[in-house]
Structure formats: C-alpha cells, structure tokens
C-alpha cells in the first residue's frame, strides 16, 4: 500500500515538468505556432536556473531565471518565425541545436556541483494522513502549481476575452487581423509565455527533480511535451493527464527494476520514447479527430496585408 503511495508521488513529481512544458507549448500552438525548440529552451533554462539557484542559494530565483531564459529564447524564435516568417520547423530545430550547444557551454562550470539542501514540503495535518499524505501532500510547490496552471489555462482559453482572441489568432489569423488584432504581436507574446513555462519546466528538472546539471539532461522531454500537445488534442486538462501518464511510464521502469524484473535497464529506459510513438499513433490515426481539434493555422506563416 505504501509502495503504491510512493509510486503515485513519484509519478506526479516526474509528470510535473512535462505538464508545465506541455501547457507552455499548448499556448504556442493555440495561436498557431509550432515551436520545435522546446528541448533547446528547456536546456537553456535548466542550466540558467541551476546556475542562479547555485550562486544565490535561492531556488525561486532559479525558477525566475529559468522562466526569463525560456522567454528570451522563445522571443528569438518568435522574431524569426513570426516576423520574418522563416520556416517554423527549421527555426525550432535551430533553437534546439543552439540550446543544446549553449547550455553545455555555459554549464561546464556547474557539472558535479550540488545545490544546498532543500527544505521539506509538508502540509499541516494533510501530510500525516496515511497513504494520501505520502501520495499527494509532500510535494514541491511546483507540483501543485502545474495543476493550478492547467485549470487556470482552461479558464483563460474558454472563459475570458483574451482566450477568445488567442484562439481566434490560432484558428484564423486573417479574421483576427481584419478585426484589428495585432496577430504577430499576440503570437510573439504567446510564444514568450510558452517559452517561460518551458523554462520553468527546465528549471524544475535541474533545481528540484535531479537536482544537478548534466549536459542534455532534459533527455527528450521537450519533444515528448510536443507529442503530448497532440495527445491532449490541444486541451489543457488532457495535457495534464497525459503528462502524469508519462510520468508514470518513467517511474514504471524504476518500479519494475525494484521488483527484480529481469529486463535490461536500457530497454526499460526506452519505455517513455516508445510510449510516445504508440500514443501518437493511437491519437493521430483518426484524421478527423485531429482536424477538428487542431488550431487551423498551426504551422502556417501569416502575412499581414
């Protein structure tokens, strides 16, 4: 029983960076831009977040640094992909390659460094509950923030004027433009917001989850988050569910190894990647399902006239 509680706890913890990054990419894609640079943004943010948390000793400053770094990287992407209308795929790839190099370059001094001991996060009373306390109430605040973000994003997208504008820009930039909305500016800000969230996710990995800096430590989570936006059919709550599902898959390998299942470690580590492919196949095989949910202008350049 207690084992199950620990497994749930680990699943939530592992799913959190995926959830935050997926929500960020969801904002991007809702306004019609695919940012394949997610992995690069997360890496840059992870190293910046770690560096600041290490130097200042304050993890929250680390998160802030990660968010700022992610937003800056996204702004660079946005200037190219939105203003100059460069190919979104190629530009995103450039950001991922650049981010991988830059983070390794900056991070070389921080390899092998350790952060100061983190405080324990306990809720009064709740954390002492049997089972539930272990599973749900001993987490880092970011875990709850991810849930809050998902709910907030549902409200933002479907209940506010701003959300309507964002969706309009993604569904039909020409109509939004004709109504007088500044499509490119809105896309840029949405990209930066998404980049900031990817940045927070990256910083969570290096500051809380690991907590250390290793070159390429995101290990494809940016790409998995991109796949999760498809899996979630661009809906925030489904994104959250998807992220925890993948957190569970990540944890499953450790659990199975603990149970003494005789499968080589490398095959276990393949699980999240194989699961991503399986999930993509299952969701994408129904073209109408994708077409009805996908923002109509996704990946297409917009030229204001």
């Amino acid at each position: 029983m207690n084992e199950l509680a620990l497994l749930i706890a680990a699943m939530l913890s592992a799913g959190t960076p995926l959830a935050i990054a997926t929500l960020g990419l969801l904002i991007n894609e809702r306004v019609g831009v695919v940012n394949l640079g997610a992995e690069g943004m997360m890496l840059i943010a992870a190293v910046c977040g770690f560096a600041v948390a290490f130097v200042t000793g304050n993890q929250w400053l680390g998160f802030l640094a990660g968010a700022v770094a992610g937003a800056c990287a996204a702004a660079l992407f946005g200037l190219l992909a939105v203003w100059l209308n460069t190919n979104q795929y190629a530009t995103g790839l450039a950001l991922t390659l650049f981010g991988g190099g830059l983070s390794a370059f900056i991070g070389i001094e921080f390899v092998g460094k350790k952060l100061a001991e983190q405080p324990k996060y306990d809720w009064p009373w709740l954390s002492d509950l049997p089972f539930l306390g272990t599973a749900f109430f001993k987490h880092h605040p970011m875990v709850y923030l991810a849930i809050f973000l998902a709910v907030a994003m549902v409200y933002l997208l479907y209940k506010t004027r701003l959300g309507l504008v964002l969706r309009a820009v993604g569904e039909s930039p020409d109509s939004a433009h004709a109504l007088g909305y500044r499509v490119r500016l809105i896309r840029l800000f949405a990209l930066m917001a998404g980049g900031a969230l990817c940045g927070v996710a990256g910083a969570y990995l290096s500051v809380v989850y690991a907590p250390l800096w290793v070159e390429g430590m995101t290990a494809g989570r940016g790409w998995i988050a991109l796949a999760l936006t498809v899996f979630a059919t661009w809906r925030p709550l489904r994104a959250l569910m998807g992220a925890y599902l993948f957190g569970g898959v990540t944890m499953l390998q450790l659990y199975l190894q603990g149970e003494g299942v005789q499968i080589p470690a490398q095959f276990m580590s393949m699980l999240p990647y194989l699961a991503t492919i399986v999930v993509l196949v299952l969701i994408s095989r129904n073209p109408t399902w994708i077409r009805t949910n996908m923002p109509a202008s996704l990946g297409k350049p917009f030229y204001p006239t």
């Binding site: 650049f98 190099g101 299952l282």
Partner: protein, 363 residues
C-alpha cells in the same frame, strides 16, 4: 523605417549569398565570444578556419569528418525537398552503425576470410539496410496512422541510442575489454580501404562524391525526383498531376534513412574499427545544418559538409588549445543556422527604406 517587401521572384543572388552572409554573422558573433572569454579572437578563428586545412594530415581529418555529414545530408535534402521532416537521421545513423558493426563482429569472431575491397560494399549495404529499416518505422506510422514524422523519427533516436548502449554494455561487450562498453575490434580485413597514404580518410569519401552526383541526377533528371519535389512545394498540384504522396513519403524516408545508415557503417568500419556508445558525435543533427547551408542542393552540401566539419574539428581543438569547452562547436552550429534562416528572408523579400511619415501613414 525598414520594411520588407516581397519579391516577385526569389532572388538567385541571395540564394547563394545568404550562406556567406550567415557565416560572416556567425564569425562576427564568434569574435565577441572569444573576447568575452579573454581569448585572442584571431587565434580562436584560426583554430576553426586555418588549423583544419593547414597540413595534408589535417586535411585528411577534415575529409574524414566531412564524409558522414555529406552522406547523411544528401539523403536529408531529398527528404526536406519532399516536405518530409526526417530529423532523426541520428537514429538511422546509429542503426546503420549497429547493423554494420554487428556484421563485422560476426565476421571477425568466425574468422571468415575476406578482403577489404570485397567486404566494403557488403558492410556499407548492411548499414544502409539498417538505417532504411529504422526510418521505415516512421514511414509506416505516418502512412498508416498519420503520426507526425518529426516526433517519431526523433523518438527513435533515443531508442537507437539505448539499443546501442544495451549491445555494447551487454551481449556484444568485448570479454577482454577490461569491462569497457565496447565491442571487440573488427579484423583488419573488414575495415574500409584507406584513401590516402597518410591519415584515416577512407573510400567512403569517394563514394560520397559519387552519391552527390547520383542524387543530382535523381533530383534534376529523373521523373521520380521531380515528383517528390513537386509534392513538397505544392501538394495539391502534385495530387492533381497524379503523383503519389505515399510514394514520396516512403521514398524520402527510405532513401534518407539508407544514406544515414550507410554513413553509420562508414564510421564504424572506417575510423572507429569497433562499436562504442560514442559512435556518432552528433553527425545526424549537424547534417541537418549541412543540408540547409548547402541550399538543399546535392553540390551545395559537399561544400557545406566541409564547413561544418571545420566547426566540429575547431570545437575539439578549442578545447585542447584554448581551454574552451568543445560545446562551443554546437553554439556556432546553432548560430549559423539561425543566421542562415534570417538571411534567407532576403531570398524572397527585399529591404526597402521607407520615409518616417509614410510608414506612419501605413501604420
């Protein structure tokens, strides 16, 4: 005020000037990075652009690293022109290395008599088959289930990496290798013939030049190649003309996969001579930049491969000579691609200087 104005026709001048300008911008930024880290920028640049070409031996090393880049990029340009985004060439490269390496290990262990010139085609073909099979997974997922090929090919990179890791840590580990994760050394007869008296450059380079010519013929002189490109530029026109988009998808992925796999075979049967977890050096990703810098053109990628090979060698040298991390190479690669994409705006647009008043009126 600066305003971008669409050109009626893409500028041919800027198609070729854009990579040069992008390189100039990258070098400009590089100078700042060197100064920021207290290094002499002239020495820094000479490590990237002079050291790799200053002696015959250095040149053979340049060729050695340019070869896999060129072969992978030749496959990728076909794929990108067909608007099929195979960005997992790294994984196909690794599978090529695994299949070719496995074959070489098997031949070595069973002491099968062979000769370098006779075995080279076999091992390269094995690599190509491995790479094509790996890419075919993505083709199948896209064709049957409409799954995004970018994500599937990329996920398969991680899977390929883990598969290689499993093999060299497990069943293929050299029992006499002091527990290092590496296979036995392949027998001399299974390795690719060398090209020159000095250095490690191998026949793969000659083959890659031949492949470049073949790719040129396929793209610009054969109907199939033409159909692929029409499908990439104007899918509706291609459908109207009756060109199969499924055929294009499979051709693009199988060819680019086979090329990447062949490059992997060249690497293990060339300079490596055994399988280790570090077969790749990121060639599959660098080749994406090669493809773009080379203007998605089979001749262009030959030059671009040499340029990016300089970047790779310069990165290694700047670690040993300047004490800067070799990741610097990755920073420059990313910068180059960013700068290139920015400069490419000029291919389809021209810059117009607009008077302040007029622009206000427009806004």
């Amino acid at each position: 005020m600066i305003r971008l104005e669409p050109r009626p026709q893409p500028s041919i001048l800027w198609t070729y000037a854009s990579p040069a300008l992008a390189l100039a911008i990258t070098v400009f930024v590089a100078v700042f990075i060197f100064i920021a880290f207290g290094k002499d920028p002239v020495r820094g640049l000479s490590i990237f652009f002079w050291e790799p070409i200053k002696s015959p031996y250095a040149l053979t090393e340049l060729i050695l690293k340019a070869t896999p880049l060129m072969v992978i990029a030749l496959g990728l340009i076909l794929s990108f022109r067909a608007n099929v985004w195979n960005i997992g060439a790294e994984g196909q490269f690794l599978l090529g290395a695994i299949v070719a390496g496995g074959l070489a290990v098997w031949v070595t262990e069973n002491q099968i008599a062979t000769q370098r010139w006779a075995f080279a085609p076999i091992v390269l073909l094995a690599g190509a088959v491995g790479g094509a099979l790996w890419a075919s997974i993505a083709a199948l997922c896209k064709d049957k289930f409409n799954a995004n090929e970018i994500l599937v090919t990329l996920m398969l990179v991680y899977v390929a990496n883990l598969l290689l890791s499993y093999l060299v840590f497990g069943p293929w580990k050299d029992p006499k290798g002091f527990n290092f994760p590496q296979s036995i050394r392949f027998s001399d007869d299974t390795l690719l013939p060398r090209l020159f008296a000095t250095g490690r450059a191998h026949v793969g380079f000659a083959l890659s030049i031949l492949l470049s010519a073949l790719m040129w013929i396929f793209m610009f002189r054969m109907l199939r190649g033409y159909q692929l490109q029409v499908g990439g530029i104007a899918p509706l026109a291609a459908r109207y003309a009756g060109f199969s988009s499924r055929g294009a998808l499979w051709t693009a992925l199988l060819v680019s996969g086979a090329f990447a796999g062949m490059a992997g075979a060249m690497e293990v049967a060339g300079p490596m001579g055994q399988l280790t977890p570090y077969v790749s050096n990121g060639y599959g990703f660098t080749a994406i930049i090669v493809a773009f810098v080379g203007r998605l053109h089979p001749v262009g990628v030959v030059f671009a491969a040499f340029l990016l090979s300089m970047f790779l060698i310069g990165g290694e040298l700047s670690q040993s000579r300047l004490g800067l991390p070799s990741a610097l190479s990755g920073v420059f690669q990313g910068l180059l691609l960013f700068a290139l994409l920015t400069c490419d705006t000029l291919v389809n647009n021209r810059i117009r200087w607009v008077g302040a008043k007029k622009s206000e009126a427009h806004a």
